[in-house]
């Protein structure tokens, strides 16, 4: 690997690889800079130590094992800039549902030899372990935001990643609001922008795959969902998907699960 090109490394922790597929999907764009960056993939969660040093590390996945908790420290040490990509890396992912329950129970039900499965009791975001310079949200991340982030990194500028709500993008795109005009439940008002309001553009409510926006009021949205006829069980379920353990979503789902605020 040449030393004068900025080196970009991609690391994988507990995740489904969907975000890396977004990276592969950027091949045309990335080929343009193939001469300018050296790209290294570390897809296997091997037990070997992290080698080399990297100008930019893109980290996919959450921390679910003691080995991963150690490896992320090494990745941080080896990286000048560390960007987490996707809901797993930024909020613990769908696997953070374990945080609401007892992992040992699942383990003995799911695996024939649970004694061989070494895992932590929680799935935690990268930011719970090391300093993170930027988080890219989404399940999976948006190709446009990834290219924007790498471009910004290469040219030493601030990436244009806004923490406003999905409603902003809905209005920008000219969608008719599915909640107001159709009564469809939508998490858009409390969800972080970045998808360009994809689901509402196809007449579906937002599922919150980008996690909480900068400023949210999940308890108020819960009131609206109830008014719209959604049962508390369903409200808990809709808040507990890809970003179940992101603070604002978690607090709201726990309050609903505990029966708080219900009439």
């Amino acid at each position: 690997m040449s030393t004068d090109k900025p080196s970009v490394a991609v690391w994988k922790f507990a995740s489904c690889d969907g975000c890396q597929l977004t990276l592969l999907d950027c091949e045309d764009e990335l080929l343009e800079v193939a001469g300018e960056v050296a790209l290294a993939y570390f897809l296997e969660a091997g037990l070997t130590s992290v080698r080399g040093s990297y100008a930019l590390s893109l980290v996919e996945g959450s921390i679910t094992t003691a080995d991963d908790a150690r490896r992320i420290q090494e990745v941080r040490q080896a990286s000048r800039t560390l960007v987490t990509i996707g809901a797993c890396a930024t909020a613990g992912g769908i696997q953070a549902l374990r945080n609401f329950s007892e992992v040992d129970e699942f383990r003995s039900i799911v695996y024939a030899h649970p004694e061989f499965v070494e895992t932590l009791g929680t799935s935690t975001p990268i930011s719970a372990h090391v300093r993170v310079d930027l988080e890219l949200r989404g399940c999976p991340i948006s190709k446009a935001q990834l290219v924007e982030t790498i471009s910004a990194f290469l040219h030493g500028r601030r990436p244009n990643i806004s923490g406003r709500s999905v409603c902003s993008e809905c209005k920008e795109r000219g969608n008719v609001c599915v909640t107001v005009a159709g009564g469809t439940p939508c998490l858009g008002p409390i969800t972080h922008a970045g998808c360009e309001a994809l689901c509402p553009a196809y007449h579906r409510g937002c599922y919150g795959c980008y996690g909480p926006a900068d400023t949210t009021n999940a308890p108020s949205l819960v009131v609206r969902l109830r008014e719209g006829g959604m049962a508390d069980d369903d409200i808990v379920r809709v808040l507990r998907t890809f970003n179940a353990y992101a603070d604002d979503f978690r607090d709201a789902s726990e309050a609903v699960a505990a029966g708080k605020g219900a009439e």
Binding site: E32, E148, V180, A181, H203, N217
Partner: protein
């Protein structure tokens, strides 16, 4: 009301006359934009003929709720404010202000400078068909924002100065409308080229229109389409439509000095109350026809040879809207909501000599939490209201 030389007074257009007006405009190269039905709401879009207008459709608007409904007549303009405003066209949600290109080293262009900068210039020719009194008033307010003062917006100017406005006096205000109490409707007072009043007839008959020219361009258009002179009866019928609309305003802004009230109410407990309901979703500001905030984003491509500056809509409900060095000065929903209401209804007067609200009701209808600004004002004004209405 009418301009000099504009004319010979109001005329009556039938469907053929309206169709001819649309055809004439398209033939002259205008993009004719009008309300159309899409995804369960009225949405402005390019139309090819009068057949694209939402004949027989009406709406039902409430706080946080919008539904289309069938009317029992053949009106083409029998509904209140569409989902978004004409702002989308004059002040687009996202636009590129300029682009820069870095030619390869050694090329002739490269000698001229590191970057070749190109300022984006679009010159659309929009004809807005069906703009309401509140909407025309909102355009006049945005004119003060973008064209008043020393620094004007060239993109807005280009779109605005060419735009032809064929307004329609309102016949069917929604439950969320309060233009009367903002002195912004339902009758169009100025700012249009032609003003129509639609007189609807039962389903099997076509509606007809009283048409008045408010400008030379409007008069020229009317002269080119088939029409009949307006009889006193026709004028009375049209007046009755607008009078009926005025009598059916869905709500009312309390009649208080809003500027004074809000400047005295910065610590009112109601801000905490509304902060519990508001989602900080930005919808109200983005659908509001007068809100003008934007943010610029500088973008470079991966290779560093192309750069551009984009401008996009922004809102005081975004955390970054008040970001100064080190943090955001309005970090909670209480202060964000207070900014919206105090700016819109209060400090707007200091800035532009007018209210920022025309009573179109969009922020009420399209708020996913169903927050109604007239209700918030009523709560804040509480004691003041009792003083004026014993």
């Amino acid at each position: 009301m009418k301009v000099d030389g504009a004319a010979s007074g109001p005329v009556v257009l039938d469907t053929a006359g309206l169709a001819a007006a649309v055809e004439t405009l398209i033939g002259d190269g205008w993009s004719v934009i009008a309300p159309t039905v899409r995804d369960g709401a009225m949405v402005h879009d390019v139309i090819e003929s009068v057949a694209d207008l939402p004949t027989g459709w009406g709406d039902k608007q409430e706080p946080g709720r919008y539904r289309l409904r069938r009317r029992d007549d053949s009106a083409r303009f029998g509904y209140a404010a569409p989902a978004q405003s004409w702002k989308r066209l004059l002040f687009p949600p996202r636009t590129t202000l300029w682009r820069a290109h870095r030619p390869p080293p050694g090329s002739a262009d490269r000698d001229a400078g590191d970057f070749v900068v190109q300022v984006a210039t679009a010159t659309p020719r929009y004809a807005f068909l069906g703009a309401r009194a509140c909407e025309v008033r909102a355009i006049e307010i945005q004119d003060r924002v973008f064209l008043g003062g020393a620094h004007t917006d060239p993109g807005y100017r280009a779109a605005r100065e060419s735009a032809l406005v064929i307004a329609v006096n309102c016949s069917s205000p929604a439950d969320t409308c309060f233009c009367s109490s903002m002195d912004a409707g339902p009758r169009v007072a100025s700012g249009a080229d032609v003003v129509l009043t639609e007189v609807a007839e039962p389903q099997h008959r076509e509606p007809w229109y009283l048409a008045e020219a408010f400008s030379d361009r409007g008069a020229a258009l009317l002269r080119r389409v088939p029409s009949a002179a307006a009889t006193p009866e026709a004028i009375d019928a049209a007046d009755a439509v607008v009078a009926n609309a005025a009598a059916h305003m869905g709500r009312e802004m309390p009649d208080v000095d809003l500027h004074e009230l809000l400047s005295e109410s910065l610590e009112h407990p109601r801000w905490d109350d509304v902060a519990e309901r508001c989602l900080a979703c930005t919808s109200c500001t983005l659908v509001c026809p007068t809100c003008f905030c934007s943010s610029v984003e500088d973008v470079t491509d991966l290779t560093g040879t192309e750069a551009r500056r984009d401008r996009r809509w922004a809102s005081c409900f975004e955390l970054d809207h008040s970001y100064l060095h080190g943090g955001s000065i309005r970090s909670g929903i209480r202060s964000m909501y207070r900014q919206w209401l105090t700016h819109k209804l209060g400090t707007w007067f200091d800035q532009f000599g007018t209210s920022g609200c025309v009573g179109c009701g969009r922020c009420v209808t399209w708020c996913p939490a169903g927050i109604d600004i007239t209700e918030e004002i009523r709560a804040i004004a509480g004691p003041h209201l009792q003083e004026v209405t014993p």
